[in-house]
Amino acid sequence: MTYAHGKHAAPTTFLSKYVFSYDHKVIGKQFLWYGIFFLGVGGMMALLIRWTLAFPGEAFPVLGPLLFPHTNGIVPPDTYSMLFTLHGTIMIFFAITPILIGAFGNFCIPLMIGARDMAFPLFNMLSFHIAVLSGAILLGSLFTPLGGAAGGWTSYPTLSTLVGSPGAGQTLWCLSIFVLGVSSTMGAVNYITTVICFRAPGMGYFDMPLTIWGLWLTAILNAIFLPVLGAGVILLTFDRVFGTTFFLAGAAATSGSGDPILFQHVFWIFGHPEVYILILPAWGMVSDFLSFFARKPAFGAKATALSMTTITILSTLVYGHHMFTTQMSPLLTQTFMTLTMTISIPSAILFANWLGTLYKGSIRFHSPMLFSMGVVFVFGLGGLTGLYLGTVSTDLYLHDTYFVVGHFHYTMAASVLLGGYAGTYYWFPKMFGRMMDETLAKIHFWITMIGLNGVFMGMMVVGFAGMHRRLYNPFVYEYLERLIPMNKFITYSALLMGVGQLPFVWNFVYSLYKGKKATANPWEVGTLEWTIPSPPIHYNFEEIPTVKCGPHEFGNPKLTNGRDFQYQTEELVK
């Protein structure tokens, strides 16, 4: 039995076409706009944070006096806490998740597996609208009397209980995360089912592009672990609203007291898979792009897919390495450390395969390739610095310092951001039928690359020197005063990185209307989405294609058709 969607007429009104659309391509674009909007909001918050750390007590230029009139433009301490809390929350849940998973997941999965739409289009549409509701709740929380959540993106009790943060902000944060969890779970159910049931005839799991592997594994992790976070924020909400005592230690010492550490367990059981949820789609895309632009078959594609699967499984077993300093039993810390180190093995295979793909390739340095190679570089750094944090003896000293901040920005921010840009430049022609400007894209790449390495490398340096994260003004401590120049350097790098995004915004908006018209296959790649016009017709495929070979068939010397690649719909030339 095959499951293929029938074709029906394209919607005609504005609302049914752009707002309440069932079309996965439109929903993907909706998520893209949503994510880019929040990327801007989160990025501005980052600049406010960086300004405060480089120039404590000085007014933030231009916007400061407008935002904080009562302090003459200086970021106040409580606002600072809200800024880093919401910067983390927004970037992770409202920028990276919608762009990498919402936008590329929705747009690419049906196109790359040869389906006409997702398995459940209505579910898909609701998933976006619920995400909008969640974003509205989060932004709304900023306007409550005591402001937004300020307990860090991890929302550890007791900071996040009524003792640490009175006011509605933290409660709305919990609500917003719960609602977003519902949205993401709906999306995940859709992705998993679509990949299982709607692959084009002939497409086995290992014939899927690695992008789909990444998105699929991400969806599996989402479906399994988001409910755990859901349970955590439900209990936290009950503590805040109904007066339960799950996370309040010593509230009733003789009568069974709550435990703040309990939340950390629940949070990180979700939280560690979450970091892989964020990076897996980027890994998948990069694994594909390196092959596409090196004009070579992906080295060990099957091993890459299996490594990603292994990492997915291992990622569920290592959450304790976030909690080494919570007086865990040494037996447990060593177990978690060993399991964490085990992740190095599949990661190293993955990484070696990337390098193997590049080796002796005839590389085309188009913008998606530049960004992909950027991912290889920054993810290497991020991954290697993770070893120090996964090792108990070093983590005890590095815990809660800026070294951690630098590390996870290299992995979650830098890699995922560069991966997201690679995907945007790569699929823009398919999404909108026009090309983005290559020169601007390359300027964007180099400024971003220099800026982000300045920021995140600088963070690791000040962290190694002992600077703690989340401090409003670390320089009240004498031993940190020497780090002011380094912090200024980080802030200037952050400003550079911020300015570096302007060419992208201009390029994106300009190319939407005035970009060069894209051909059906501008990158000369053989996967299914490039066999149809750009942008694709309403139901993608006039006829459901039959897949006859893998996605990375490049540089076959026996090819005689004047191309160096094969479409997946063609019989493999032997």
Partner: protein
Amino acid sequence: MNPNQTMKHPKEIAFTILMVSWVMLFAALFLSYALLRFKEPQWPPMGFETVSLFWPTISTAQVVLSSYTLYLFSQNFKTNVEKAKKYLYSTIFLGVGFLVSQKMLWNEMNSTGLDVGSGTFASIIQAFSWVHAAHILMGVIGQMWLFSFAKKADDVDFNFRVLHVSKFWHFLDIVWLLMFVTMFLI
């Protein structure tokens, strides 16, 4: 016919994934309960009496019976409309009854000093049963969604609806049985 595609219907696969999500939600609540309970030298903690078994037992009877009547409904809705109608109504009646007996349980706990603010013992029982009851409410609404069965018995989508509402309900039944044993019996 495509050998690469599974024989299972997409709706069945999707619902299985959803069930995994629900299992994880309740598993996380059970984990929290276990951690809070094993931290204490004794359970219930010093100064607390165990909760009377009266209302929890009635809830258990209701939810087990309702699972049985829903099973009978799913066996009969294609063949015997009158019988099926009776089973569906009894299931919904028992489901609503479960919510009532839960409310009585919460009232009783509140009146005997086991209000949510009195410590983790009462917190976990009450909060856990709130979350469960909210799902029971969803289940009852799902059962009402089956009212049109007489007209749609041959409809493929409707058959999936019956299957999924049943799976969800039996799952909630099992969760309650686990709660009953771990929270009230031992």
